[in-house]
């Protein structure tokens, strides 16, 4: 075969694409990096400024308000434990990373989901892209992420967004498409414009599904914290990574457990948030 068709130089193409992007758009990447860094810095500074006990109290209140009291107790015990084993600062870094990634995922993902729900053609274009984002090994896009954004928390956010955004897009699209055809007919029959239909009928009815998507995005972003630490994002993931490097089983377990606690807490809170 190779005799007849020359090897396709895909790697070269990608390299030159990245070079071209870097050459022409580095000012955009710099801007994105600055904004992201600024936001995360503000987030971390604010949370670090508060005494841990006050912050724990706030989280417990949020958990109690959105979910059952048992979740509130879990949050209290879990966060006190993290504080106790000395991972408080790392937990705040992780929280900042995850929440930033989720915010970016929602801000980009929901409009994309809405757009995908408008036409079947757009859906068929977007869906394979999402499959690509979710299955392409994260390390692969960590490499250009470093080139674009340098090492640190920003490429970590970038990688987390790519991995975490698809469920928000998918479930926003699904939620809107699942609104009964009859209700769409009713909205049309009374003379709704496209945006009236979207804001008054489709989005409110799709909300539970969209929230399930956001919840999934939260969990996926959390699952990326160790990967993100490979490019220099600080936090609990970095602790795990370090423990692996030094073969410290106990430390690794502690940091891992802290991630699990944060995951359960965020999962339950985000699951129940829309019911309020």
């Amino acid at each position: 075969m190779g005799d007849y068709i020359p090897r396709i130089p895909l790697a070269d193409w990608i390299d030159s694409l990245v070079d071209w992007l870097l050459l022409n758009f580095s000012f955009i990447f710099d801007k994105i990096a600055d904004i992201t860094k600024g936001f995360i810095g503000l987030f971390v500074d604010t949370l670090t400024m508060l005494p841990p006990l006050l912050l724990i109290a706030i989280f417990v209140l949020i958990a109690w308000w959105t979910s059952r009291w048992s979740i509130a107790i879990f949050t209290a015990v879990g966060l006190l434990f993290i504080e106790n084993i000395g991972y408080w600062a790392q937990m705040i870094d992780t929280l900042a990373l995850v929440i930033t990634a989720v915010i970016v995922s929602v801000v980009i993902g929901m409009p994309l989901g809405i757009v995908a729900a408008q036409s079947n053609r757009l859906q068929t274009i977007i869906m394979p892209l999402l499959d690509f984002m979710q299955t392409m090994p994260a390390f692969v896009y960590l490499i250009p992420a470093i080139l674009f954004f340098n090492v640190g928390v920003v490429p970590g956010v970038f990688a987390s967004v790519i991995f975490a955004m698809p469920p928000t897009i998918r479930l926003t699209n699904l939620g809107i498409r699942q609104v009964p055809a009859e209700l769409i007919e009713a909205a049309d029959a009374f003379g709704s414009t496209r945006s009236q239909k979207l804001y008054k009928v489709q989005l409110p009815l799709a909300l539970p599904t969209i929230m399930a998507g956001i919840n999934q995005s939260v969990m996926l972003a959390l699952s990326m914290v160790v990967t993100a630490s490979l490019v220099g994002a600080p936090g609990l993931g970095a602790e795990v990574y370090r423990a692996v490097g030094q073969i410290q089983v106990g430390r690794g377990f502690e940091a891992g457990l802290a991630i699990v606690i944060v995951a359960i807490m965020l999962d339950r809170i985000s699951q129940n948030l829309y019911k309020k």
């Binding site: 009964p180 009859e182 009713a186 009374f190 003379g191 414009t193 008054k200």
Partner: protein
């Protein structure tokens, strides 16, 4: 006066509707086109008019195209060809903005499965049409409350739809459609999802509302009884074609073809036909004449009783042949032997309610209008004859029953010849 005029309106579902249209024009039917091209004919060149203020029922079995047809009216489904003229303006050629304006101001729709917005309260649902027109909050609440009151849902405005029963939910659907005060109401199987008793209540209420609203209502149903009950006119559909259009009586009494005939075959006529359909001409005479004249008349006409009216045709009573001959012997006047408590019904009494009255009286039941005038009489034979429709094996039975009345009637007399009462 026509409110909606539909002109050669067609809908073909499929990959190449224009080709389907050509085939239709060549005279192929729905099944042939489906077999040849895989396309479905929804509506085939429907042409008719809906008059201002009437309830126009489009009836057919599922798959007959009736729901498609009503959606072509407000372009929830885009027509393939033809025109829909609302007050003389073609809807099909309108752009989206003009169409939206028509949907907001001229036409409202009520849906089979209610299609209420579950995340909105009853009031918010009712307000929807006004809300999207950006009517001020205060004004739209006022209008919505008024239409909720109209359908009897005052006090439920803060409930969510799923807290209400089916019948009440459809009242919300109706209130929502009434709130923006459109001239035309499209009702797509609006009562079909309700259980029979509630359905009948809703039909009655719709008729009652219609008395004051005088909207132009296009009502879709698969239920012939419903069509006959509420329709001023009925269009019958089959395979996308309109098979017959006519008043309920026309559809029942002179079906256009075998299909309509089969359709109406098991209608419970007793719930549809009224006294005015089955009454026959009454034999009457003035009160001033004597018993001898009365007896003579009865002998001539071979009847055993005769109705007495004044000059304005107001029914005074009846006399029997026996009483008349006794009166002659005893020298009494007509007034002395006049039976005044004769059974009376109004012209729009349905046959169902007539049975008992007809069965028990010895004198035929008189049909009297709101001014007390005698419009005709009903004898047992004519009731049975009407139920048996035109000529079939019930003939002999009908005669048996009519015997006791001595009033020999011809089958042809049964029909609508009631208003020619002469005073003798």
């Amino acid at each position: 006066m026509s409110k909606i005029k539909v002109n050669k309106l067609s809908k073909i579902f499929g990959s190449n509707p224009k080709k389907g249209l050509d085939l239709l024009n060549k005279g192929m039917n729905k099944a042939e086109i489906l077999a040849k091209t895989g396309m479905t004919v929804g509506v085939n060149q429907a042409t008719f008019e809906v008059n201002d203020g009437e309830i126009f029922v489009i009836m057919g079995l599922s798959g007959s195209g009736k729901s498609t047809l009503v959606r072509l009216f407000n372009r929830l489904i885009e027509p393939t060809a033809g025109q829909v003229l609302i007050d003389g303006i073609d809807l099909v050629s309108m752009n989206q903005e003009q169409l939206r304006e028509i949907r907001r101001k001229k036409m409202s729709m009520v849906f089979q499965r209610f299609a209420l917005f579950p995340h909105r309260t009853v009031l918010e649902n009712t307000e929807y049409g006004l809300e999207i027109q950006e009517v001020a909050k205060h004004e739209r609440t006022q209008k919505a409350m008024k239409s909720l009151e109209l359908v009897g849902l005052k006090g439920y405005e803060n409930k969510k739809p799923d807290e209400l029963s089916g019948g009440m939910q459809q009242r919300v659907g109706l209130a929502r459609a009434l709130a923006n005060d459109a001239d035309i109401l499209l009702m797509d199987e609006a009562f079909s999802a309700l259980d029979p008793l509630i359905r009948k209540d809703m039909q009655d209420e719709l008729l009652e509302l219609q008395e004051t609203m005088a909207k132009t209502i296009v009502f879709i149903t698969h239920d012939l009884d419903e069509a006959l009950r509420i329709g001023d006119r009925i269009a019958l559909m089959k395979d996308g074609n309109i098979v017959q259009i006519g008043t309920p009586e026309e559809i029942l009494m002179s079906p256009a073809n075998e299909y309509v005939e089969r359709f109406v075959a098991d209608v419970d006529l007793s719930k549809v036909l009224t006294a005015s359909h089955v009454m026959i001409k009454a034999e009457t005479m003035g009160i001033t004449k004597g018993p001898r004249v009365a007896l003579q008349l009865m002998k001539e006409r071979k009847i055993s009783n005769i109705f007495i009216v004044d000059k304005k045709q107001t029914l005074l009573g009846a006399i029997t042949a026996n009483d008349a001959s006794r009166a002659i012997e005893e020298g009494k006047s007509l007034e002395d032997i006049l039976i005044t408590d004769v059974p009376k019904v109004t012209p729009d009494t349905v046959l169902n309610e007539l049975y008992e009255i007809v069965a028990h009286g010895s004198i035929p039941v008189s049909v009297v209008d709101e001014n007390g005038r005698l419009r005709g009489i009903i004898i047992r034979g004519s009731v049975m004859g009407a139920l048996a429709r035109n000529g079939n094996d019930d003939n002999e039975n009908a005669n048996d029953i009519s015997e006791s009345n001595d009033n020999d009637i011809d089958r042809d007399n049964i029909k609508h010849e009631s208003n020619r009462n002469e005073v003798i």
